[in-house]
Every structure is written in C-alpha cells, then in structure tokens.
C-alpha cells in the first residue's frame, strides 16, 4: 500500500501528513523535539502569541477533571518580536512545517500581528485564535460575537494579502456555530480550526473556592470529543468545501478518524501530548493504518465520509 496518499491541504498550504500539534499544547515545538523529529508530523501549531510579552494568569493554572482537564494559562508568552526572533528560526531549521497562532485583545492587535508574521519565511499558515476577550467590548470573547469575529478575520485578511492561508479558530461556546463559521469564511478565512476549549470551572472542596487562579478555565481532553465531533459535523454539513482543522480530545488514531469522518481535513493533538509525549506520532501512525485497513486510497477520500448518502 505504498501508494496510499496521506497528504492534506488547508487553503493553499500542503502538508505531507494530517496530524498537527494543537496551539498551546506544544509550546514552541522544542520541548516535544526531545521525543520525536518535528518534521515527522504534519505541522507544529505554535502557542498563540500576542503582540507584547505576557505573564498570563496566576497559578493554579490547571485542574484534572474526569477524562479531561481545565487550563487557565492566560496566553503567557514572550510577545511576537521575541517569538519570531528566537523560536521560528529553530523550527525552520528542523524542517518542520509551521503554523503560527496569533491572539489579540483588539481587532487592531490581530492586524498588527498579521503584518509582523506576513513576511516571515517558512510559515505554512496563520491560525487566528479569536477565543480571546475583546477589551474594546466589555471583554466579550471575539469568537462569541459574530460581528467581532468577522472584523478580526477581515483585518487579518487585508493585512496578509492573498498568500498565507488563514485558519480561523472558533469556540464551541456559542448558540449557533455554523453562523459564526460562515461569517469568518465570508471575511476571508481559508480554513477553520474547531474546536477551542469549552468554558468550565472546578471548585476546590478544601478551599471552598474556584480552584483555578483565573476562576474559569478551558476544558479539553477526551471529555469534550463528542462536542468536537458535533461541531465539525455541523460546520462541514453547511460548508463542505471549507477545510477544517479538527481538534478536541483526540488521543488515538481511532479518535482522529472520527473527526475526519465528521469533516476534518487535518487533526490537531492537544491535551493527549501531556499524557503521552509521543501522542502526535502514535496517532498519526494509527490513523494511517486504520485508513489503509478500511481501504481508503487517501486521507482526502475519508474526509467527511459520515455525511455520505445512506445508499452509497
């Protein structure tokens, strides 16, 4: 079966294989490189970077929950300048495919970030994490506001021009996800990343207060996989031509396949890497074996397979 085609595309970006890291779950890549060569997976999606350096949220920043975890990192990071100067050249040297994730507090900040990323060599795509509080609108998360979501993507699109594919990363914490998805696609997103974490909270029974320093946190891991599958399925149903980078609780090739059948063209592995540093390569191998065993000639032929007509 050497002719099996495992490649995928997101917009005009081509990837040899479809398993990626998830933003914020691989830092800038170096740490995982202790465990496998980064070029073995589809791409490294870097931790969402903001314009200025950030301390992030106070600790505790995590709580384990049944089959999941909450995190409230608060986008700690070095800021875009230091990030582009220190982290990107190293990744490029590794021959890793790179997707840079950006995050902002204002529509302007996203555009500024896009301008700084635009001219960097060796980048395959830009992921726009819009699950951030909009300081100009009472801290309402961009991704929860159809209008703000569109304006962020619009600003990034204008700045970037036509070259670099834009992947808009959406939050599942909305009433009408297909609507938000349509909006950002109309504003120029080439692909969608689904899903970011689900808003959750844990109360510490000893202190009798919210456990996390930031009170609420993002729920990730296998617990949310059914939500991810549903989100991907819903969005693929209304826009089958828009590629989706799926994520949410994937920790085996079987899980990745579920997201692909639902409509994902690629799959990011997040929390699973915390429990297994080799998760991304393990999942990629298992997925390949499963697709071949089921007789698919290529990854692409399996994308959205669960939507086919009953009589096919």
């Amino acid at each position: 079966m050497s002719e099996f085609d495992f490649s995928t595309t997101l917009g005009n970006a081509f990837f040899n294989t479809p398993i990626f890291t998830a933003s914020g779950c691989a830092s800038s890549g170096k740490e995982l490189a202790q465990f496998f060569p980064l070029r073995d997976i589809g791409a490294v999606v870097t931790k969402s970077v903001m314009n200025k350096p950030r301390y992030g949220r106070p600790t505790p920043r995590m709580a384990e929950t049944p089959s999941g975890m909450l995190n409230s990192i608060g986008l700690q990071g070095p800021g875009i300048e230091a990030f582009l100067a220190n982290d990107i050249p190293w990744l490029v040297e590794q021959n890793s495919r790179i997707i840079i994730s950006i995050a902002g507090e204002t529509i302007e900040e996203y555009a500024t970030l896009a301008r700084k990323v635009r001219s960097v060599a060796g980048i395959s795509a830009i992921e726009v994490n819009i699950s951030c509080p909009n300081v100009e609108n009472r801290g309402l998360v961009f991704a929860c506001d159809p209008d703000a979501s569109r304006r962020v993507i619009d600003g990034v699109r204008r700045t970037i021009g036509g070259e670099l594919p834009i992947i808009a990363k959406l939050s599942p914490d909305v009433t009408n996800l297909p609507d938000i998805a349509k909006g950002v696609v109309e504003s120029g997103a080439d692909a969608l990343a689904l899903i970011n974490t689900v808003l959750g909270m844990v109360i510490n029974i000893e202190t009798m207060r919210p456990h996390l320093g930031g009170n609420t946190g993002g729920l990730s891991g296998p617990a949310i996989r059914p939500v991810a599958v549903r989100a991907i399925y819903q969005v693929h149903a209304v826009m089958p031509e828009i590629p989706i980078l799926g994520m949410g609780g994937v920790s085996s090739g079987r899980d990745a396949l579920e997201l692909i059948f639902a409509g994902a063209s690629g799959v990011s592995v997040g929390t699973a890497s915390f429990g297994n540093p080799h998760a991304a390569v393990d999942i990629q191998r298992e997925l390949r074996d499963l697709l071949i065993a089921k007789g698919f000639p290529s990854l692409k032929s399996a994308v959205g397979y669960a939507h086919r007509e009953a009589d096919l």
Partner: protein
C-alpha cells in the same frame, strides 16, 4: 539563555514501560522499585519522573510526578530506580496498589538536578515528608565529593518521616523533627537552620518538601552567603515543558521576573531567585 538550558535538560528523557520489582509499605509511604535499565546512567539527584496512572480505561489523563529517590545497578535486576510514593489521591493510590511484576508507563528522567559543588563544602539537606526521598541519593554524591553532609527531616507525624536505615550511613548527622513530637524533636526543621546559618556552619542548603518549608528556608538565607537549592512542587499537567501550567515567578540575572516552568527550569531552582511572595499571583507589568 533559559531556552538553551532547557533543551539540554531533558535531552536524555525516555518514554518507557517499566516493571515493578518491589512495592513495600514504609510508614505512610510506599517504597517502590522499578527496572529502568541503562537509564540509571542519566538520572541525577533532583530529577523526577512522570507516570501514567489508572490503566487502559482510566479517566485520569495526566501523568503524576514523583522525585527519583535513588537509582542503582544490580547484577540480578540491572538498573533500578526507587520512588517514595505517598498515597494521596486516586492516581497515587492506584500506583501504590500495583503489585510486583506489573508494568508501568514512565517518562524519565525529567527536570533539573541539584547542583554539585566542585570543591568540598558544608552541606545541609532539609527534607519535609516524602521530600527526603531524593536527599539520600544526593547525600551519597556529596559525600563522594568530600562534603560534610548534615540532614534535617521534618513532618507532621512520625509515619510521614521517610528515613531508611541505609540512608543514614551517607550523612554525618541526621536530626528529625515532628510537629506532634511522635519522633525526634518536637517542632519544625526551620528552627535549627537559623542557628546553623548564624554560626556560619553551612555553605549550601539543599531542600525538598512542601512549598511553605522552601519559602521559609529562602527567607532565612536571604542576605546571607548560604546558597539555597530547593526542589519545588507545582501542579504539572505535562511535566515536559509544553503546557505552561507549572510556572513560578523567578527573578533572572537581569532583575526581570519571568514565569518559569518548574518542570524544565526546575524542579531544582535557586531559592533566592524564586519570588515566593508572588506565587499564585501575576507580577505587575511595568
């Protein structure tokens, strides 16, 4: 640069399936021995391991961190590693319930190690609860370098003191403190430290135990010449530097405070640089 140091640190980290060779109750702890083969060569006092808990159908998705108590090589078992495990919550209790012969998925060795002085010094090793585990292995290394090694162990009660017989051979003195007086002196380990510092009896303190104890020792060594290397314990989701959950505010050489990952820039840190008063807070942005 911090990044460069990091990329050195875990360079020998491996992800392996080990077999449990022994599991013995000692006071409130379990002394557990694992076969790790040649990896013993890469393990240094201060390093920790990250263990998968709960088995195939576990709802616990994150690894649990444990300090390496010591490693050794034997003719019959090859390289072995010992951990001292307190049955605390679901994950550690699961580990303690595993029997001889069971297989366990471990990533090791991880994190920074205690710095070993190049010339003989007077070293004080301070352990709280299971925090004493890595100190006996450290004592052996220090003794081999000609250091004078004194040890203070503390805990709330005698069953929480971990002090193995053979460990006592590698220290010049060992004093035990319990808060309920059920073993050794009544009180806390921090009390005698003040005197030792004032008497200039020690050059370096190595500590491992609850964060409150580490903080107290750091306060005692402030504005003294005593170096304080402490092994911190922050909740860790990944243990390998990719999640940013385990951060501590640490002042760098340039006076800037950074949120450093205690899994790769620690667990062993310079106690004088940790900004203990900012733990659980976010530094002001200037």
């Amino acid at each position: 640069m911090v990044k460069e140091v990091m990329s050195q640190i875990n360079r020998s980290a491996a992800h392996i399936i080990t077999t449990i060779l022994a599991n013995k109750r000692v006071g409130q702890y379990h002394q557990m021995v694992f076969g790790i083969g040649d990896l013993v060569k890469s393990c240094r006092p201060g390093n920790f391991v990250a263990i998968n808990v709960g088995g195939d159908s576990s709802r616990m998705i994150l690894r649990r961190a444990f300090a390496i108590s010591r490693v050794s090589e034997s003719a019959s078992f090859g390289g072995t590693m010992e951990l001292i495990v307190a049955p605390h919550g679901l994950g550690s209790k699961w580990l303690c319930s595993q029997i001889e012969g069971a297989e366990v998925d471990i990533v090791l060795p991880l994190g920074t190690a205690f710095g070993i002085p190049t010339s003989p010094v007077n070293a004080l090793l301070v352990g709280g609860g299971y925090g004493s585990a890595p100190l006996f292995g450290l004592a052996e290394v220090l003794k081999a370098r000609g250091c004078k090694v004194d040890m203070l162990l503390g805990a709330s009660t005698s069953a929480k003191i971990y002090a193995p017989m053979e460990g006592k051979r590698s220290v010049n003195s060992l004093k035990i403190y319990t808060e309920d007086g059920t073993m050794g002196e009544l009180g806390r380990v921090t009390e005698p430290i003040k005197v030792l510092i004032e008497n200039k009896a020690i050059d370096v303190i190595y500590s491992c135990g609850p964060m409150g104890m580490l903080r107290a020792i750091s306060e005692l060594t402030t504005d003294t010449d005593v170096v304080h290397q402490c092994a911190v314990e922050e909740a860790m989701a990944c243990g390998i530097g990719i999640c940013m959950t385990c951060v501590l505010p640490v002042k760098g050489e340039d006076g800037q405070i950074s949120m450093l990952r205690s899994c790769i820039d620690g667990p062993v840190m310079d106690g004088s640089q940790v900004q203990w008063h900012l733990v659980g807070q976010v530094p002001e942005v200037h």
